[in-house]
């Protein structure tokens, strides 16, 4: 029996095999593709027949005038999204104060729904709202602003507005959804604490300040730290869609630059090198977050 059992357990491996192969093919093999950055890779020619160029493409990163601009854009978007991280917590606290259950439910459903709509649709909505013949300009005309048709304003083509406008779209899409986790955390707070505080004479705002906020800040920091490693990966589809000739120089983040160099200009090797640099910056941010977590909360996140 025991012998049969020990042989039989290899069936478990057999059942997992097809899926492990998929992981190898689609998740781990691409990492080996980093080697392209050391060669002058030309599509269609085997890698061993391509010229080995060593660190040429990594040195190029430091002389490329675009590198600094693209990293700057990436960090600005990342910085704004970090600044906005307390908003879902605030939203949850406010939503919890809506005591009419049906209203609360409806707000919750409709504020979370944009999170599940594709960026193409968001782009389509933005296009029909903000473009020159869009609804916003039409409404402005109703109120007598921009009566002259040649004077319409399209925020999507305003390069100065890119950073905050794109961040606003992101916030619009994710705020309600990101609040849900805090909403759950609030319901998990012991009601006794509030009752005790009230006996001690604390008003509503004192309760929020001394009970709700500290209880949520734990969740807040955990989520913040977890998100930092992923910060540079977000927004690719969004920026890709909203990029246009007017905004290109400000909206181009590292991912978009990789796409432009690698797939549009077919300069695969340099594209891979930029991708590796992005990975290095991500790791750096994660390490910093980890150190910060250790100092603030006394434990590492990873």
């Amino acid at each position: 029996m025991a012998k049969r059992k020990s042989f039989y357990r290899y069936r478990l491996l057999l059942m997992a095999l097809p899926f492990m192969v998929l992981i190898l093919l689609f998740n781990y093999m691409p990492v080996f593709g980093w080697i392209y950055s050391l060669y002058d890779y030309i599509p269609g020619i085997a890698l061993k027949d391509c010229d080995f160029v060593g660190l040429k493409y990594f040195r190029m990163l430091f002389t490329d005038v675009n590198t600094f601009r693209v990293i700057k854009n990436t960090l600005i978007f990342a910085g704004i999204s970090i600044i906005l991280t307390p908003l879902p917590m605030l939203f949850a606290i406010l939503l919890n104060e809506i005591k009419l259950r049906p209203v609360q439910k409806i707000i919750q459903i409709f504020s979370t729904i944009p999170n599940f709509i594709s960026w193409i649709i968001v782009y389509s909505l933005a296009f029909s709202l903000f473009s020159h013949d869009g609804l916003v300009n039409a409404v402005l005309q109703v109120f007598g602003v921009n009566v002259d048709a040649g004077n319409t304003y399209n925020i999507m083509g305003d390069s100065n507005a890119v950073y905050w406008f794109q961040s606003f779209l992101q916030l619009w899409k994710t705020l309600g959804w990101n609040a849900i986790i805090y909403l759950a955390a609030i319901t998990g707070i012991d009601q006794e604490l509030y009752n005790a505080a009230k006996v001690d004479g604390a008003g509503y705002f004192k309760c929020a300040l001394h009970i709700t906020f500290p209880a949520l800040s734990e969740t807040y920091f955990v989520l913040l730290m977890l998100n930092i490693g992923n910060l540079l990966n977000t927004g690719f589809e969004q920026y890709f869609l909203f990029k246009n000739p007017q905004t290109a120089s400000n909206i181009e983040v590292l991912d978009l630059y990789v796409y432009r160099i690698g797939l549009e200009s077919q300069d695969y090797s340099y594209g891979v090198a930029i991708g590796i640099m992005k990975f290095a910056i991500s790791v750096l941010l994660l390490t910093l977050a980890n150190k910060a977590a250790k100092r603030i909360r006394g434990e590492y996140i990873i």
């Binding site: 357990r9 478990l12 491996l13 059942m15 997992a16 899926f19 492990m20 998929l22 992981i23 093919l25 689609f26 998740n27 781990y28 093999m29 691409p30 593709g33 980093w34 392209y36 406010l94 104060e97 809506i98 005591k99 707000i107 919750q108 459903i109 409709f110 504020s111 979370t112 599940f116 709509i117 594709s118 193409i120 782009y123 389509s124 909505l125 933005a126 296009f127 029909s128 020159h132 869009g134 609804l135 409404v139 705020l175 309600g176 959804w177 986790i181 759950a184 008003g203 509503y204 969740t219 490693g229 589809e237 890709f240 869609l241 246009n244 690698g262 797939l263 695969y268 891979v272 990975f279």
Partner: protein
């Protein structure tokens, strides 16, 4: 919970709070509403002045035109096929892997599980992935929608955590009755894991329905497997280019007219692409919410 006498400051806060949150909710919903009312309005009126609150006139002509539009019906079918098949494959893969990783007698269990979890943090990047997909012969192939998205570390963790907390007795009873691993999986684990499976299914379905970038970079040359989202992308791209042209040429009549005629098409496809999610979401919301909760517990 209500105290009989509320302080005035509290009342003011409450009123302000309702206005703020209902206002935000309206901002979330309003853009979708403007699309819907535009597509059912009488085009001859709507094109001159877009409806702001309610449709102007009522006609389903836009929808009738879309149904006969070249390529629309086919992309809709591809999107549905992709969503159904992709969801099924992802759910099956996540469920079976999650279950297998709960079996302590599995050889190399820890190493394999780590390899799966690590996929959430490791990413070769756009270019190496593209080169590989091409070398696998998956360019312009329907399976490029399904295969790379089949195994997801996150879903597997969710299933594994769920299965671990199921009572062991049922599984043992099935084993005594002579059931093998796969039989236990299909007749015991799957029925018991329905809540978490439903949660993963809704997430997988939404991400398949919404995908377009894989269509854009891998399969743009094969019109036979074009998805609805990508079709919409093409119309938007066209509209953007026309808008640029109109702007540069200070509005020659012909291109302006062209941009208007595609506007109805564009908007109608948009509505048809978000409508399924709007219809399904309110009923499925608890499954979505459960997903994020379980993820949080894992953290």
């Amino acid at each position: 919970m209500y105290t009989k006498k509320e302080k005035p400051s509290r009342r003011i806060f409450q009123i302000f709070n309702y206005i703020l949150l209902i206002g935000f909710t309206l901002i979330c919903v309003y853009p979708f509403w403007t699309m819907i009312i535009y597509t059912v309005s009488d085009p001859s009126v709507a094109d001159i002045k877009a409806p702001i609150l309610f449709p102007k006139g009522f006609t389903l002509n836009n929808y009738k035109e879309i149904l006969v539009l070249n390529g629309f019906f086919h992309s809709l079918l591809i999107s549905i096929l992709r969503t159904v098949l992709g969801t099924f494959v992802t759910v099956f893969a996540s469920a079976i892997m999650g279950y297998l990783f709960t079996k302590e007698e599995m050889p190399c269990r820890k190493v394999l599980y780590r390899a799966v979890v690590l996929t959430m943090y490791i990413n070769g990047g756009l270019i190496p992935t593209f080169i590989l997909i091409r070398s696998y012969g998956l360019l312009n192939n329907f399976w490029v929608y399904i295969l790379p998205m089949t195994v997801s570390g996150y879903y597997i963790i969710l299933i594994k955590t769920f299965v671990e907390q199921l009572p062991k007795e049922l599984e043992e009873a099935a084993v005594i009755d002579g059931a093998g691993y796969f039989k236990v999986f299909t007749s015991v684990i799957i029925p018991l894991s329905k809540p978490i499976i439903a949660t993963i299914a809704v997430f997988a379905a939404v991400s398949h329905w919404n995908s377009w970038f894989d269509n854009y970079i891998y399969t743009s040359k094969n019109e036979g497997i074009q998805t609805l989202q990508y079709l919409l992308y093409q119309y938007l791209n066209q509209a953007q280019q026309m808008a640029d042209q109109v702007k540069n040429s200070h509005g020659t009549i012909s291109s302006a007219a062209a941009s208007i005629s595609t506007k109805g098409v564009r908007m109608t496809i948009t509505v048809l692409a978000f409508l399924p999610i709007f219809i399904v979401y309110p009923f499925m919301q608890r499954f979505f919410t459960k997903g994020i909760m379980l993820g949080a517990v894992k953290c």
